[in-house]
Symmetry: C2
């Protein structure tokens, strides 16, 4: 049970076109968002939470179906990101399938559903869209921007794209870019979707079908990379579903197979195939060092006034601690104020979403410094 | 260029049915095999080489298309497994698609192509089939049995199934069983194949199609697990195919995508989908400790007279050194004579097939002890 209770999603419409990195433009779009807590009179206590692949603006509290937000253990009254002190914003990114303008919506230029014609969006585009929403909420400068995994990339990009509009960056289980192996996993998932005959070149909506086979395979691959090898062995090991082996190539024999198929089936019921392509591509493209000749320290030279918290997890082989350490080095090279915690957690990449007392304590302690108690009381007077 | 030169594959037919672990029976089957070198008069210099997923009886030398065998750097005159001294046998396993009886052949019981009706085969079944071939060649006891990856599992199984018929076991880059993560990757690959509409429940031959989409995805997943993260970064990194980003979710942007798609395309042209299911299942099922309550040392108690060489590679995350060390421990617990080499190689699981001087030297040195020079000269007199 969430201590925030029911929350109501909101929508904000933007008529001003959003220029995208690709050169295309997103015209006339809507962002879905939620807020938790109260904005101080000086508007200095706002924290933006950015979401990863399979998540949305519903960060905390209970939605209309009674489902807790994806970071409900992190955000709420008395929680590490304490909504009794902070005004927290969750926003769904354009291209997603959870409320903001995305591929299943109508393209105003053609009157047809976007489908595969939805423009390619990047982490930087998302951050620009988020910045407009934050501005409309009347917030000149965020106390912090925060995210895990792909959300962490957005938090990093905020300090580079809008350095004067945020003070603290909290990036968890993330990386300065994807490795070849990361891209490889994304590409296999995309090929599974795109080669599903029900994909119809991305215009499956018109055919009344969904490329579920591809989505299932994509999600199964994803799940393997979210968990550590050890966590999988502890949770499933070589447990059989039945008492005896059935000797079948197609039936389920091992519990891990049952788990993966279940995850794939669930996902294929609600996730949009074009969104999957768009979001994995945004991951592939993120690479702030690229326009600085590969020099990550140069990329972060603009972020000298910020304070950073980076967190990684020892068993995360998707975005390993080594990748976070690359970021720490680039920040330290700029004499930027950075705290770094490497949490000894068994759960792999998924750890950033899970209960881990040491992890949550690191986050709690950091947020206590983002807005020292005295500051806020003064502002409220 | 192979120093063995052209080799001719042979076939051996078996009328005696092969009882399988599943309870089914393989009737009236043929094994494709090759041999290299000369069998000594006392038939004491025979080495059996077992193949892994995507390989065959064509271990060394040049086939009719001029293609070198898959372990040609290991097997040949003057090579670590020296065909001037040893008589080497490569045999294709039943269920494969490279010459031995498999799913694309006619089921004598029905007169129809086996397809999905080909019985599920296990590592133990393969070893039993190999043992019959070895017997027919007049070899009472193999000097050694040798394999990498799934081939290593067969080498291990020989010492358990036919302990009196082999002296040395050389198992490279292998494991005592698959981890949950290993099974998970196999399962995703199988789902990609089975859910391809062209699979037709495994009877696609009758429809004149091949589930190429599924095979491509399966092979792409496989390739990710064969290479180390670092090796992929060194070989491909984030290299773009074109000079600039194209901003596309479906076109190739990164070289790693191009490589994987190419590997998938090639594989789907020649590999049989039912064979892929059968071989990955054989991997899943292998677990010699299972019938000993999970006690691997108990499983190997029968192998007390053997000598073992185990080799692993530091960057192999598919069958990591830790898995080989489990085997070493089980052998040592039985006071079995075991040599173990952990090779510091960058290439991941693929390393067992590659040129690595330290690795090849370990193999060469071990084979010098399998058949000490004096022994053989005496036998030849």
């Amino acid at each position: 049970m969430s201590s925030l209770g029911p929350v109501t999603p909101q929508q904000m419409h933007f008529r001003e076109p959003l220029p995208l990195r690709s050169g295309a433009v997103l015209a006339d779009y809507t962002l879905a968002y939620e807020t938790y807590g109260t904005l101080d009179a000086d508007k200095g206590n706002a924290v933006l939470v950015c979401h990863a692949l399979n998540a949305s603006h519903h960060v905390a509290g209970l939605d209309e179906r009674g489902q807790a937000g994806w970071w409900d253990n992190m955000v709420g009254p008395g929680k590490p990101l304490d909504t009794d002190r902070f005004f927290v914003i969750g926003v769904n990114n354009p291209g997603s399938c959870f409320g903001s303008t995305g591929p299943m919506h109508v393209n105003p230029a053609t009157g047809r559903v976007y489908g595969a014609d939805f423009p390619v969006v990047t982490v930087e585009d998302w951050v620009d869209a988020q910045a407009r929403l934050v501005q409309r909420l009347g917030i000149t400068q965020l106390a912090a921007v925060m995210g895990g995994s792909l959300g962490g990339m957005q938090a990093l990009a905020w300090t580079l794209r809008h350095p004067t509009r945020v003070r603290h960056c909290i990036a968890v289980a993330t990386a300065p870019n994807l490795s070849a192996q990361n891209i490889a996993f994304n590409e296999v998932a995309r090929r599974a979707i795109v080669t599903d005959p029900d994909f119809h070149g991305g215009h499956f909506y018109a055919h009344g079908v969904v490329p579920k086979r591809g989505l299932r395979v994509a999600r199964m691959i994803g799940h393997i990379t979210y968990l550590s090898d050890d966590a999988m062995d502890v949770k499933f090991g070589r447990q059989l579903r039945a008492a005896e082996l059935g000797y079948s190539t197609q039936d389920i024999e091992f519990q891990i197979e049952s788990y993966l198929r279940h995850q794939g089936d669930k996902f294929s019921e609600y996730f949009d195939a074009n969104t999957y392509l768009l979001i994995t591509r945004a991951l592939d493209y993120f690479d702030p060092a690229r326009e600085h000749g590969g020099d990550l320290a140069k990329a972060f030279a603009v972020a000298r006034e910020h304070k950073f918290l980076l967190v990684s997890f020892t068993t995360d082989w998707r975005f390993s601690p080594a990748r976070s350490r690359e970021l720490v080095k680039a920040l330290v090279d700029n004499r930027i104020d950075v705290s770094y915690a490497e949490i000894d957690a068994p759960h792999g990449h998924d750890a950033f979403l899970l209960e881990d007392p040491r992890y949550l304590q690191v986050m709690r302690a950091y947020f206590a410094n983002v807005l020292p108690a005295g500051t806020q009381e003064a502002a409220r007077v």
